[in-house]
């Protein structure tokens, strides 16, 4: 977080920091995912939100189905060309700053579907921050990806305005 541990101020319940670091600390620990679930991976993603794996331990359980209220898009499941324009439109509707997780082999590179209808990787039309392999990935992998996003926000941050 870049806390400035000034010994003159320490001990009195004060911490000094930059506004940017503070905002990113908040962002990182309260991600609002937008589950863009299309296929099998979406079921594992629901599993992550449910009781056993419980994504709320990482502050990212407030799944918003409206892109305007979300800052993390988890694209889970095969994206076909018919769906791709919708996916792009929803990404465009999300407010900045925003991050994208490509969950599962299909979103990473087409997966087993090397066919006429399937986009061979969503990075053809979306900027992706974290890729998760697997068909479908285990819930632990999704948690790991969320932590990687947190790390990324911590290291790179994003402008406040």
């Amino acid at each position: 977080m870049g806390v400035n541990s000034n010994s003159l101020l320490g001990g009195d319940g004060f911490i000094t920091t930059t506004i940017e670091a503070f905002a990113n600390w908040g962002r990182k620990n309260s991600l609002w995912p937008m589950p863009f679930g299309t296929a099998c991976c979406a079921i594992e993603m629901m599993g992550v939100f449910a009781s056993r794996f419980d994504l709320s331990r990482f502050g990212a359980e407030v799944a918003r189905f409206s892109p305007r209220q979300a800052d993390l898009m988890i694209v889970s499941g095969t994206i076909t060309y018919k769906m791709a324009s919708v996916c792009r439109m929803i990404y465009d509707q999300m407010p900045e700053p925003k991050w994208v997780i490509a969950m599962g082999s299909c979103t990473c590179g087409g997966g087993p579907f090397d066919s006429y209808a399937v986009v061979q990787g969503i990075d053809e039309f979306l900027p992706v921050d974290v890729y998760i392999g697997g068909c479908p990935p285990r819930p632990e992998a999704i948690i790991d990806a969320v932590m990687k996003i947190q790390k990324k926000i911590d290291l790179e941050g994003a402008p406040i305005l």
Partner: protein, 409 residues
């Protein structure tokens, strides 16, 4: 969309008030939490009443049928997982049974494999119904039932994971039986599940079955008559909820289902609540079947003794030249069913799933056709919601329990 017929504005003229209203077009999906994936429904609304609903599908069409024409029969198996991914194991077993029928080797399958498949099939049914009920309740605002259902699904995942290593996409049995013998703790885990699951079922039951809000939201909603249901070709709880006792397990038994003692639950109202009751009762019947299966799980071989179809054991592949060659040929070229065509139906959680395979005598299917129950069941939606309120559309979609992977393939 432009081809949807024009709805006359005259229809909305109210002579009493002299007010002319307009029909509103509301687009729902393909990205909508209550469409269970990527279904898109275009709704024409008069106030809150649905005048017309037009479903659009195909947003998840991946071309599975075409892809399967280019790979061996055994390689098609993983694609079947990804159709009805809520009950992958049922799809897998259905496909395996079809290939076995095409090869004409049903009688050679050992009893141990068949019984294990029945147990797994019924676990798959429970798995799917849990999501069906859980998400239907979630869509109508009852979040807690969803969490209970998913908790129990994790137990089934655990069993599947010990059996085949995967949680969701199982790709498990092989043509000719099981790829490996069942793990040692399989029986214990299934028995444990049989012990704990009725309690969760009772919890879900007490959360929903007599819940006033749930009843108000589902009773008399999204009704369909038995005649219409048959005419549209509905199957599964969607058909049985309308009073037609058609169940493939009874009508055209496979895997020795005729030897199990179970009943086909039927409800007569044809509404969303009836379908919910059917699913609840089906889970209880599935437990009964699993219990019979696990009590009578025979010892003995787990795969058929058919060198032309079944891969040799791994140890033999490593140590004996003949087995290695056989392994290579079977993996590389696959077995070659005689030219011909078969159709085989199984009772998937959502209805009748049937595969239609055409063989031209080579190692690859000439044509693989999947009749997904959701695809046909989905056709009932416009009839169900016509003249109803907008909120009932959500209840209708949830109660049909569709899965888009199977609709679009």
């Amino acid at each position: 969309m432009e081809r949807v017929e024009f709805i006359s504005q005259e229809a909305n003229f109210n002579a009493d008030t002299g007010i002319r209203t307009e029909t509103m077009m509301l687009n729902m999906g393909p990205q909508h939490p209550a469409t269970h994936g990527v279904l898109r429904v275009v709704l024409y609304l008069d106030g809150e009443t649905v005048v017309k609903a037009v479903p659009y599908i195909g947003y998840l069409h991946r071309g599975i049928e075409k892809l399967c024409e280019h790979i061996t029969y055994q390689q098609c198996l993983p694609y079947t997982d990804r159709m009805d991914y809520l009950a992958s194991i049922c799809n897998n077993i259905g496909y395996i049974l079809t290939v076995e029928k095409l090869l004409g080797i049903q009688d050679a399958i050992p009893e141990r494999a068949k019984t294990a498949e029945v147990i797994l099939f019924e676990l798959g049914r429970i798995e799917s119904h849990l999501v069906g009920i859980g998400t239907n309740a979630l869509d109508l605002g009852a979040m807690s039932a969803f969490l209970y259902c998913f908790k129990e699904r994790e137990r089934i995942y655990d069993i599947l994971e010990t059996v085949c290593g995967a949680r969701l996409t199982t790709s498990y049995p092989r043509v000719g039986g099981l790829p490996l013998d069942l793990p040692d703790d399989f029986e214990e885990k299934v028995r444990n599940f049989l012990k704990v699951f009725p309690a969760t079922l009772a919890e879900v039951d007490s959360l929903l079955t007599r819940n006033r809000i749930w009843i108000d939201r589902t009773k008399g909603v999204a009704t369909i008559s038995a005649e219409d249901a048959i005419d549209l070709g509905l199957t599964g709880p969607a058909l049985r909820g309308s009073g037609v006792p058609y169940d493939v397990r009874k009508a055209m038994p496979y895997l020795g289902y005729e030897n199990y003692d179970f009943e086909v639950p039927v409800a007569n109202e044809g509404d969303a609540y009836s379908r919910f009751l059917c699913r609840m009762e089906e889970m209880r019947q599935s437990l009964k079947i699993i219990e019979q299966g696990i009590n009578n799980l025979p010892d003995g071989p787990y795969a058929a003794d058919l060198p032309d179809v079944v891969l040799p054991e791994k140890e033999l592949t490593y140590t004996r030249m003949e087995s290695l060659i056989r392994h290579f040929v079977l993996v590389y070229e696959g077995f070659k069913p005689p030219a011909g065509e078969v159709q085989h139906a199984v009772e998937n959680p959502k209805g009748e799933l049937s595969y239609y395979l055409v063989s031209d005598g080579t190692g690859k299917p000439y044509r693989m056709r999947v009749r997904g129950p959701s695809f046909v069941n989905m056709q009932a939606l416009p009839n169900m919601v016509k003249g109803r309120l907008l909120a009932d559309v959500i209840a209708a979609i949830g109660s049909l329990d569709i899965v888009l992977g199977e609709i679009d393939r």
